[in-house]
Symmetry: C2
Subunit: 230 residues, 2 copies
DNA sequence: TCTGATCTATCTGTATACAATACACACCAC
DNA sequence: GTGGTGTGTATTGTATACAGATAGATCAGA
């Protein structure tokens, strides 16, 4: 729609090769099934350079960024390898994530608008329809992550979002392996509802408590059922 | 002491230029007084390369790592600039830090040994001697940070340490500007003692609560007294 | 046949050359 | 005098060349 004052979009000067390669690699790594491969997958700089049609320089820059994010590990003179998280590391991530999200919930009760909180319901309301069978489990996982990301966002704390995004990145990678039973999902959804209700009541203590318990449940679940690693 | 089986230290294969440059730059940035300079300090790649006696490649690699850590900001075709944190960002850091450290305190009550906890007392016991005047304030700040780092360490959660280290990095940078009165320090020390006592009693709820309150006090203090930024 | 060493190929780490872009200053037009 | 354009310089982004190291293979010796 035309406006009176001219609206100019902020040009993304980040349109440099480094960023493009970084995005591509990140997407590729997170979408691949790390734990399916029996051998460590190595990222060959020259091969990547050839495939992406750029020189090795932007590749190396992107790889270094990915290493700092913990997605890959670079061994001097050996190469870059996709990192497989250990069970211990996964549990640590859930633990830290719980602390961050419970803080986010507390902040959200103060900083989020009513509309934003009620918007959370839409995020997962369609989960209640019983037609979705196991086929929808993958979609549930994605929606589940988005729900938690939303809470983080409602805290209006940018630093929180940055750190949490880094964690979610890894959670996404192990998501497909998480053994989800039907009952587990149902329980999870109920807990989500309770969290939203606590936020709506602006009950910061309750919201924080519920989020922490929710995370603890996930932690126990992973601890019990995840055996495909380590 | 000589042992039966030969003990070999893990050779630091990270001894590559990239890491050296990274360490140098990080130390230089954190030790400099960012907020004293009236203009944004720019990091010239070629100048740095000349001064450190290496080519631009390791310099750029190190700069990129520093950018991801939030210490500098790279603007395409413009250069790298040391980041000055806004007051809002500082408060956010304290907020997140509080959540992480209160989690750490909770974990520490379960994972830390009695010896480790009692070791915390030594960290700041000399603060009680009254001879140290304002001259020791700088040392207090450093010791203060080390105390909090110790708590994080006692949680035995590596991820927690990684994230917290990133935050402490920035805290160190603003430390020298934090207006510390004598009374403020005394209060702080008392709170530290209470935190240690809670840890010794293995009272996870109390320890977590005290750490959070301690952080909140710092947050309020900064919010009130820090006016030299933004 | 197995162990060990040497040699080679390949890949990474570093340096440097080249290209593109942004800022600054000067010059010109109005 | 002011504003705009154009060129020059300096600095970053990208590509490539070179050096060093590692892993695997081949070969010799027991």
């Amino acid at each position: 729609m035309p406006t009176k004052e001219l609206r100019l979009k902020p040009i993304d000067s980040n349109n440099i090769l480094k960023s493009k390669v970084y995005d591509q690699l990140k997407a590729a790594i997170t979408s691949m099934d790390i734990y399916a491969a029996e051998t460590d997958t190595k990222l060959d700089e020259r091969r990547l350079a050839d495939e992406l049609g750029v020189s090795r320089t932007p590749i190396r820059e992107a790889l270094m960024l990915l290493e700092k994010e913990g997605l890959i590990r670079m061994i001097p003179r050996r190469g870059a390898f996709v990192v497989r998280k250990t069970k211990r590391e996964i549990l640590e991530m859930i633990c830290v994530w719980g602390a961050l999200e419970s803080l986010a919930a507390r902040l959200a009760t103060a900083n989020a608008s009513d509309k934003e909180i009620s918007g959370l319901r839409e995020t997962f309301v369609s989960l209640d329809d019983p037609n979705s069978a196991l086929a929808a489990i993958d979609e549930y996982s994605e929606r589940n992550i988005r729900f938690h990301q939303s809470i983080i966002r409602l805290s209006k704390c940018e630093l929180l979002q940055d750190i949490a995004d880094g964690l979610f990145l890894h959670m996404r990678a192990i998501r497909s392996h998480s053994v989800k039973e039907r009952g587990q999902i149902a329980d999870s959804v109920v807990e989500h509802v309770h969290i939203i209700e606590a936020l709506e009541k602006r009950d910061e203590v309750l919201a924080e408590k519920l989020v922490r318990e929710h995370t603890n449940h996930l932690s126990e679940h992973v601890n019990k059922h995840v055996t495909w690693v380590e």
